[in-house]
Symmetry: C2
Subunit: 252 residues, 2 copies
């Protein structure tokens, strides 16, 4: 059997999900924990890369015995979350484990993923949220919020999103389909939520930077189509820091 | 003028509020920040001690120039939160500053304080809450919650609370008045909120441990009066860890 782990993690201390030659990653911690739990090396295949400092409310990874497409264990799938917990650090949690088909691929079989970018929108700092939101002190009023939503709606659809991709990537196909994109306020927290069939490098962080430029009046909410069409990274907003970004949902 | 700072802090990295010979404290960070901001040493008087790892949504501390009852500065009180921010670490925030009378005392003038103890009540761990809740995996059902509330209501009133005080304290007067005590559920978070004119050493953590013993059926909700009357620490529940405890409100 192949097991799919449903994971959440606080990314603050990690150099992203994917194994790196330098720096500790979430995948490395999963490698160590599964080796201890099952007694042999495993292949761990994640649903996505994530950047250093990015969090996940919901991340998926498939586990099999190294070099095979199956896991050799007597532990029932529903007990794995508790069994693996003692081998994982406190900032990584497996909250569900399920048996999947041997042909299942956690990355290629994704229907869509949802990200959320959280902004702490208050003049004062919040000591409980400093590593899990962007602190944006200037008040985003209702007009600015409406403009951000107008701009966000222009992201929806199938487009070449290369204007919202960090340079330095060798990727050829930069067309993705965004299914939904909206900005909501919840007290002093402003959230940008976006779902798509795939995301380019830093795309959500550049979307967010662009929406904040809209809030500040630097980019018109009607200007998004132009920015998208021109495919020039320079026209979009800044890449906001990773600390506010959460992979929120993976749907197969 | 004397300035009262309203502060919030994540206590995880600190050996409590009060200056310690070994270990970094919140007061030490306030000492360093005020020295840098005002250009001289200050006296900082807090509203309370807090234990290592305990947090504060609202803590108060008065600042004066060392050895005087006044602060010598041209910075208006309402600008101090922003001015001091760059000298403070990200896990300590001054969210308000106000001028108070020279005779004001942040500890003796407290009318009441409110603490909240937060419990993450889910079988799975929460990587975003591990250092700011107690993880209590066993489900607290409605019956257990009702019993906890029945027990909590028996804390209310003016009592000798020495049964709920950690040994090792030289304090003589162990009578305090608890104004309110209740347990509420908010999704997977169970909160115990208690207000009093003062608290003995570890009192809220022992209250919480006692309420969890009530939830587990180890202590009857009708047994609280007996425990209080007997004044024997052994009859009460355990001292739960500091990570779930927040000083929530200070009222003058």
């Amino acid at each position: 059997m192949k097991i799919l782990l449903h994971i959440s993690f606080l990314g603050t201390k990690y150099c992203g999900y994917q194994i790196q030659p330098n720096g500790i990653t979430v995948q490395q911690k999963l490698n160590e924990a599964t080796r201890q739990l099952f007694g042999y090396d495993c292949d761990i295949v994640g649903c996505s890369r994530t950047d250093s400092g990015v969090h996940a409310n919901h991340f998926c990874a498939a586990v099999t015995k190294k070099g095979t497409d199956s896991l050799d264990t007597t532990i029932p799938a529903d007990k794995i979350p508790f069994a693996i917990a003692c081998y994982l650090p406190e900032d990584i949690s497996v909250f569900k484990a399920e048996v999947v088909d041997g042909s299942f691929h956690p990355r290629y079989d994704v229907k869509y993923k949802e990200y959320v970018y959280r902004i702490w929108n208050s003049p004062e700092r919040n000591p409980f949220l400093y590593d899990r939101t962007l602190h944006y002190p200037k008040h985003i009023d209702d007009i600015a919020l409406n403009n951000m939503n107008k701009a966000a709606s222009a992201f929806v659809g199938t487009h070449d999103f290369s204007a919202y991709m960090s340079a330095d990537t060798k990727i050829k196909d930069t067309v993705r389909t965004v299914y939904s994109a909206e900005v909501i306020r919840n007290g002093d927290i402003v959230e940008f939520k976006v779902s798509a069939n795939g995301f380019l490098y830093n795309m959500v962080r550049i979307f967010t930077g662009t929406l904040l430029a809209v809030a500040e009046g630097k980019i018109s909410p009607d200007g998004i189509e132009y920015i998208t069409e021109k495919k020039d990274r320079k026209n979009a907003g800044i890449t906001v820091p990773p600390c506010g970004l959460f992979l929120n949902r993976v749907v197969y």
